[in-house]
Amino acid sequence: MSPLDLVVAVPLGFVVAALMLGRAARGLILLAAPLMAGLALWLALLPPDAAFLVGQWDLPLGILLRADGVARLMILATALVIGAVGLHALAEPPEKPGHAAQAETFWPLVYLLWAGANAGFLTTDLFNLYVTLEMVSLAAVALAAMGSLAAALRYFMIALLGSLAYLLGVALIVARYNTVDVTLLAQVAEPDLATLLALGLMTAGLLIKAALFPMHGWLPPAHAAAPAPASALLSAIAVKLGFVILVRLWFEGFADVTGPASLQVMGGLGAGAVLYGSVQAMRQQRLKALVAYSTVAQVGYLFLAFPLVAGAIDPGDAWAGMTLQAVAHMLAKAAMFLAAGLMLKAAAGDRIADLGGLAQAMPLTVTAFGLAAVSLMGLPPSGGFTAKFLLLTAAIEQGAFLYAGVLILGGLLAAVYLFRALSACFAPATTPRAPVTGGFRTAEPLALAGLAIVMGFAGTALVELSAIAAPWDAPAAAPAVTLPEAAP
């Protein structure tokens, strides 16, 4: 028995249980959160070569589940985030008033998202990744639809286009190489027309899913209207799956195919996202829109790291910086959305100017918001600081001063728009406040934000964790499988 068997099967089991229990399904999260956290921790502590061929069918036919550093960290962060968001949703129902359908279907959709995310982080099979992408997108669109149908439809169409682009790329790869496993492709991929087109298509599709500028258009409207737990899940989890798959493609499967020029393009888009997202966040009048544009900016850091990882002589630090940025963002952004949800319920309106008096009325919630902001800004000590610091040193070592500049500037801009939101909370109240407090619902954003800060103290351990089975390490222990040649 290994967590590799269970970390996808258990959330799927909860989907079944949630459907059978109907309205009583909300209590399941009390079981699911600690169970999945335990499984994720167990997974993180497995020996470094933990991998499993599902059904014990060998490659190139079968599907490989591999617990590398990225998978372990992402699954752990996912367990913490979804656990906290779920517990919060238990205390603070996410559905529109009177919408019993939303109340009941919220839970199976969350467990579906959970299963899809875990499955996507763990597998190296490109087609299996397509199915996991669809699982996550389906759940994410449905959760967004609980807020705004129009925004959800737009998200749906764009996500579908992205999925098809990805699938077309996979089709070309299957036809060309007779395998879709990333570890095998790492050995046989060549830069010919079909491969380059396939990689381009897959990248385009995944960048749409990851909401990287300029393909970010679907994200702010979907987030702004969705209930707080849904926004938290969208920003923290759904967007990350596309990023992880791109990491698998660019640094493992097609590492020999991608040239420095294309990596610079990715880095350039990432830098553009940081700057554009930050500027847009500064212009927002509504709190949730501000936090949504902050996601656009933070996702930019993930892709800005691509050329830094590829160009480093010892990629360990840059790789860790990229991974930890993803994890820190997941924790901090989820905390921020949950806190924002509570704050908006107590505030006079959904504009930032209406947030006055909340610091006195809901001190713990505003603290959670503030701690999350610390991590997003990259201030020490926090996970965000550790990640940015690693990336910054990598950039300076390589002489990539432009990227270093963007990293610093991004942090400054984040400080500008986040302080603006925070200081509005300290302004005197215009009308009496009805605080939305109550230990249980305040605890989750505080806990998540606290974890984002505590991450900053566990730097070394996390860096080592991220390096497990990393593709730039000693040649991966990929089975020496000979791919079938086409019959003459």
Binding site: Y130, M157, L160, L167
Partner: protein, 112 residues
């Protein structure tokens, strides 16, 4: 009656080319047609084209290989699931818009 076509154009390539053209047609329709239901139809055409490429380039000694066939079947099922959800969103969105217009009489449902 076998036409004396050059050897390069085997049946597999013919269908794969058809798939490629379908992808292009569907994509063009998706961009230029404004109505979401037509876009949903266009997306299905694109998907069908991708499946043709996937399947026709995976020939075995007599039949198409089982692996590409299985992948295409999986793809078809996923596509129908998403199409069903997409159609539901489109209809539901139209319903809420119709209910929001005070001039709408017959089909206005109580505002949710």
């Amino acid at each position: 009656m076998d036409l004396p076509l050059p050897e390069i154009l085997s049946a597999g390539h013919l269908y794969a080319l058809t798939g490629a053209v379908l992808v292009g047609l569907g994509l063009y329709a998706f961009i230029t047609l404004r109505h979401p239901l037509r876009q949903l139809l266009a997306v299905n055409v694109v998907g069908a084209g991708i499946f043709l490429i996937l399947g026709s380039l995976g020939r075995g000694p007599e039949a198409t290989d089982p692996l590409p066939q299985a992948l295409v079947i999986t793809g078809i099922v996923v596509a129908v699931a998403l199409t069903a959800f997409g159609a539901a969103i489109i209809v539901r969105l139209a319903e809420t818009r119709a209910a929001a217009k005070p001039a709408d009489d017959d089909n206005a449902r109580p505002e949710p």
